[in-house]
Symmetry: C2
Subunit: 311 residues, 2 copies
């Protein structure tokens, strides 16, 4: 991992905090900024607490990192090598913030956006420095889910994307380059495919909500924690993916036409899922369950890191 | 886990072998049968080798289990408490085999089918003992992927399903009860939603095959290894799943209408995925990679078992 560099995290909500932890773990100097400076002390405390938890779970933490909160944007950007914007999903707010980032950040600094729903074309196109500004969409939380979707806009060259990739791979994240803008990028399209079919199966009375979750975590999810769908299929036919496609492709095609991913979420199904969730995890236990989830992710990442093979 | 019971595994291919390992690990007496008795020695050797591997990865193995191969079906069924059919996906072959199983197995034995594509109504309906015969669809491989989809046919009562659930939960599998027959059951419908959208994203030139796999294994798959999609969403909004649905449901609904899960698998996309797979895992390394996958699954199961909380 790189060390000795400085990142400015612009926006100290849940996503910004996770980004700060990811850079801090890699030994970077992290400067936290937020338009509402009152949130900074709690955010910094959260980030500082995340590091020993990650180390205790077996994850590597590089030495030399530092963290400070800075309520003034110009001061927060001084000396930055990389800037990651993580403010709420509002196109005009993002456009206004990026105009300031582009004006104030050092000329060599890259400017990444955590947006999950807004194409870069819609809020970055008018920047003088638009070639250094790009959507770099993380999973949630960024310090425990290493993927970052790099989504170049039409004006970006391969060299722009490569610079973002180098920084993000350098801190141990996994940058994945999309070839063009598309609604939901890739991660949320795959998630939506699962979630909408899952809601439809409950709505159609095929399975209870807790059964649906059990199917995912006790079969598909176990495999997908180590390999994607293409490698999974590649290893499940004697002669690789093309062989798999010859044997089973027509079944997937036929079944695909029976899926209900374009259906809405009926209110009655939403109520049944909510009721099942509160039965499994009462309101008072939700916080403890979230901490369990984060510990589980840390330990899985440590397991993968120790085994190798999940690049 | 239960001990001291006897299971007959009818069909000693990959799925039957995994079933044999799952029952053997739980301390059952396992009798392997196959219509082609020549496969039995290698199958038995495979099952015997699986147990120490599982133990070495940290999984519990109950004492007292035993394994033998028996080429005669009547002899293989003598004294069976449970029978699991795992022969190739051919409706007439399954119907003929179940007629023999129903005639020869002890009256109290349950008869499960591993079919992944054929509704029980299509090959079990004419059995005199059809109430004890049910689709019990495992993931692949059964000893490393604990889910079993129990799919009752119209003639089954809740008590029939409950008897299957008790046996399968008793050996440490995770039985999940569907409420009715549906094409692909639940697991393969969720898998198809992901796989078809993944193929479409490659076909549309949005992402390379290796990038698609990276998105899954470095984000969604990590989470789904511990919790299903409903619990994931429940923990990602301040006031639970219903709150999540209010905030984001309309985005899922809108994005769902843009998915391409009903598209075919274009030959050109299949070729690009195959080429990317061979670059990542050359033909000569596929066997080693399959063993890596199985070790990874064992270690993840051991991690989950040690942490608790993934019921």
């Amino acid at each position: 991992m790189s060390t000795g560099c400085r990142v400015t995290i612009a926006g100290a909500g849940l996503i910004g905090r996770g980004w700060a932890a990811a850079f801090l773990r890699a030994g970077w100097e992290v400067v936290l900024w937020d338009a509402a400076p009152g949130v900074l002390p709690a955010a910094a405390e959260w980030v500082r607490a995340a590091l020993p938890e990650m180390e205790a779970a077996g994850l590597a933490v590089a030495p030399g990192g530092g963290l400070r909160a800075e309520p003034d944007l110009a001061a927060a950007l001084a000396g930055a090598d990389y800037v990651q914007e993580s403010v709420p999903e509002d196109r005009d707010a993002k456009a206004a913030l990026f105009a300031r980032l582009d004006a104030l950040a050092p000329p060599g600094a890259l400017l990444g956006s955590s947006t999950s729903t807004i194409a870069g074309s819609l809020f970055l196109a008018d920047l003088p420095g638009r070639s250094r500004a790009m959507v770099a969409h993380p999973a949630n939380p960024p310090h425990l889910m290493p993927v970052v979707e790099l989504v170049p806009s039409p004006w970006h060259a391969a060299a722009d994307t490569a610079r973002f990739s180098a920084v993000l791979a350098g801190i141990g994240q996994v940058p994945v380059v999309l070839k063009r803008e598309i609604e939901g990028f890739v991660m949320n399209r795959l998630q939506t495919a699962v979630v909408n079919e899952a809601v439809a199966l409950v709505a159609q009375g095929v399975i209870d909500p807790e059964g649906l979750d059990a199917v995912m975590k006790h079969s598909l999810g176990l495999r997908w924690a180590f390999m994607g769908p293409f490698e999974t299929m590649d290893l499940n036919a004697p002669d690789g993916f093309a062989d798999y496609a010859r044997r089973y492709g027509r079944f997937y095609e036929a079944m695909g036409r029976t899926l209900s991913v374009a259906d809405g979420w009926p209110a009655e199904a939403v109520e049944r899922i909510e009721a099942a969730r509160r039965l499994a995890t009462p309101r008072a236990s939700v916080g403890a369950r979230m901490r369990w989830r984060d510990r589980a992710l840390m330990r899985l990442l440590a397991l993968r890191s120790g085994m190798g093979g999940t690049s």
